[in-house]
């Protein structure tokens, strides 16, 4: 049944169902990738397209490639994209307003031209051409078949590609590497530095907020032994937000009286 269908260049029904279900979704996802503002959303939509393609591969007797597609593209490449997106913090929305005059119109026109011509070329070239199918080629197993191709006919390319991979890994390391002039200060170094300061006052660390104060809240400064508040005990984040109260009102009354 399958081979008969293949011979006339068409496919069996389940595959057609899968195709007509996934293909429009894939195209929509691709378009969405183009149009959404957030890069992370783009990445997700692209991941979806890639998973769809993996299904298409599996449907087309390329089981190994299908799985590799998921592992390599979805799992590694797209994850790397997400990772970088988050690492560099470009998670805010992009502006989609075009700044180069005529760029968008020309792009769409050119793309329509390319797409149209490609489609018509394919239609002329392939449509109705009987497909051979991979039944014979995959006879000993798809993985085994690919392996024997890779390690016989394409062994040179394979080796070259392996060299390329190593080079790329090295290149990425070199590019992303930033030379440290001195070694990173570890906890130990910080501790030593604290004790070697001129004053041993800070050697015990900063006081926690609220210590010995009348309020046990994070925005209330700690009181020093002489009763005066220590603004340094409050988190810098709170200070930056402006959520800190004026330190003076937390001074002990006894001190105020003394002064009076």
């Amino acid at each position: 049944m399958l081979s008969l269908a293949l011979h006339s260049g068409t496919t069996a029904t389940p595959e057609a169902v899968q195709f007509w279900f996934l293909a429009p979704l894939a195209v929509l996802a691709a378009l969405g990738m183009l149009l959404v503002k957030k890069a992370v959303h783009s990445a997700l939509l692209l991941a979806w397209v890639m998973v769809s393609l993996a299904f298409f591969y599996i449907a087309q007797d390329a089981l190994f490639l299908g799985i590799v597609q998921i592992v390599v593209y979805t799992g590694a490449v797209m994850m790397l994209f997400l990772f970088i997106l988050m690492l560099v913090g470009v998670d805010s929305s992009d502006s989609l307003v075009e700044t180069i005059k005529g760029q968008r119109g020309a792009a769409i026109a050119a793309a329509l031209g390319v797409g149209g011509l490609l489609t018509s070329l394919i239609a002329r070239a392939v449509q109705g051409v009987p497909a051979v199918g991979l039944k014979d080629a995959n006879n000993g197993g798809n993985v085994q078949g690919l392996a024997s191709e890779l390690f016989t006919k394409y062994v040179w390319a394979f080796e070259v590609v392996s060299a390329l991979l190593i080079t790329a890994a090295l290149g990425a390391m070199v590019l992303a590497h930033s030379q440290k002039i001195k070694s990173k200060t570890a906890q130990r170094d910080l501790s030593i530095a604290r004790f070697r300061k001129d004053s041993l006052g800070a050697s015990a660390g900063l006081p926690a907020p609220g210590v010995f104060a009348r309020h046990n809240a994070v925005d209330v400064p700690a009181l020093l032994p002489d009763g005066s508040p220590a603004p340094s005990s409050i988190s810098a984040t709170l200070k930056a937000r402006g959520d800190m109260l004026d330190s003076k009102i937390f001074e002990l009354e006894a001190k105020e009286e003394e002064e009076n």
């Binding site: 089981l63 799985i67 590799v68 799992g75 997400l82 990772f83």
Partner: protein, 407 residues
Amino acid sequence: MNFADLLGNDPGWLTTVKAFLVFALCVLLTLLAIWSERRIVARMQMRLGPNRVGPFGLVQGLADGVKLALKEDLIPKAADKIVFIIAPIISVSTCFLSFAVIPMTGKVSLFGHKTAMQLTDMPVGVLFILAAASVGVYGIVLAGWSSGSTYPLLGGLRSSAQVISYEVAMGLSLVAVFIRSGSMSTSEIVAQQHSLWYAVALFPSFVIYLISMVGETNRAPFDLAEAEGELVGGFHTEYSSLKFALFFLAEYVNIIGVSALATTLFLGGYHALPGLTFTENWLGGWFTMIWFMAKVIAFFFIFVWLRGTLPRLRYDQFMKFGWKVLIPASLFWIMVASSFRLMSQRGASKSVVIAAAIGVVIILLAAITLFDRSKEKSEEREALGDVAPPSFPVPQIPSQRAEQLHG
């Protein structure tokens, strides 16, 4: 008749039934796992653990689940809503996928059909599991990002970096298995282990896999993604209610999943312990499932044991360990394993193989010794040269005093 053909003949309804069974098993195991983890850890800490709800507190997990599901579902204002919702779904749906290719029994009959307790058999089954795991990471990363909060983002980043790194080591540890068995199909690998488990034959692979599976599932001592002291709860800090429950479920299903894979690849899967092979025919072959479950549970116990015993690693140490120890060791082992495989394929005599093995071990030991010695030396040099005189008199640091006293 191999498994692929056997399963290929399953009618559609049988596959559906099996899928349901696998799903149910996973959920059930999760509930049991939560209960047993709490009980075991409690024992280790001289406590009792949950013992009120049901006999021995067995229903505690279910009760907690119901409570979680009924809690208020919060979505933070800064969150990216769609992704926030999708993330746990991705997480939980991918974690079940790996069970599709795990063979849990030998040939059995189910509703009058000759089949096996395995959903489907693929020539690239193990890779399929890896693929599922790699998609599963999305759940964590997206959860971390979409929360719109710093701690979850950091947790998500850590977690994804960790999972990807350890996936490499894991994948490499599997390569030796592929080379030895000549297949990537789970059922085929299990079948190949009828005489000798790969845990023995490929011991280094087994060790590497054991370590990396803990890293892969973000469990103690590698649970840096949710290190409470640093990141509150990690990627799921902002999650609550059912969505949190889904992550919870996914984590435990993942643990069971990697345990099942370890069982399949290294402990002979559903095969009985050596010497007890006759048990494989009991209950019309269903007894093999008991062997399988026993092994999975044993692995799970190891997880709990580790959690109860080991302190958490520092993140940089952890990554260093993954990239600088596990991966090179795996690569070296793959080379050795494939050499042996080639030798056996070319018909080398046993004595030659053993001699080669001893040679490799000796070279390895020598390399380790030399490396250690040079490391010690350089450390000594650093320790001696690195002390700058303080600007004011301070009490001597104990190690320095010891040095002065001794030499």
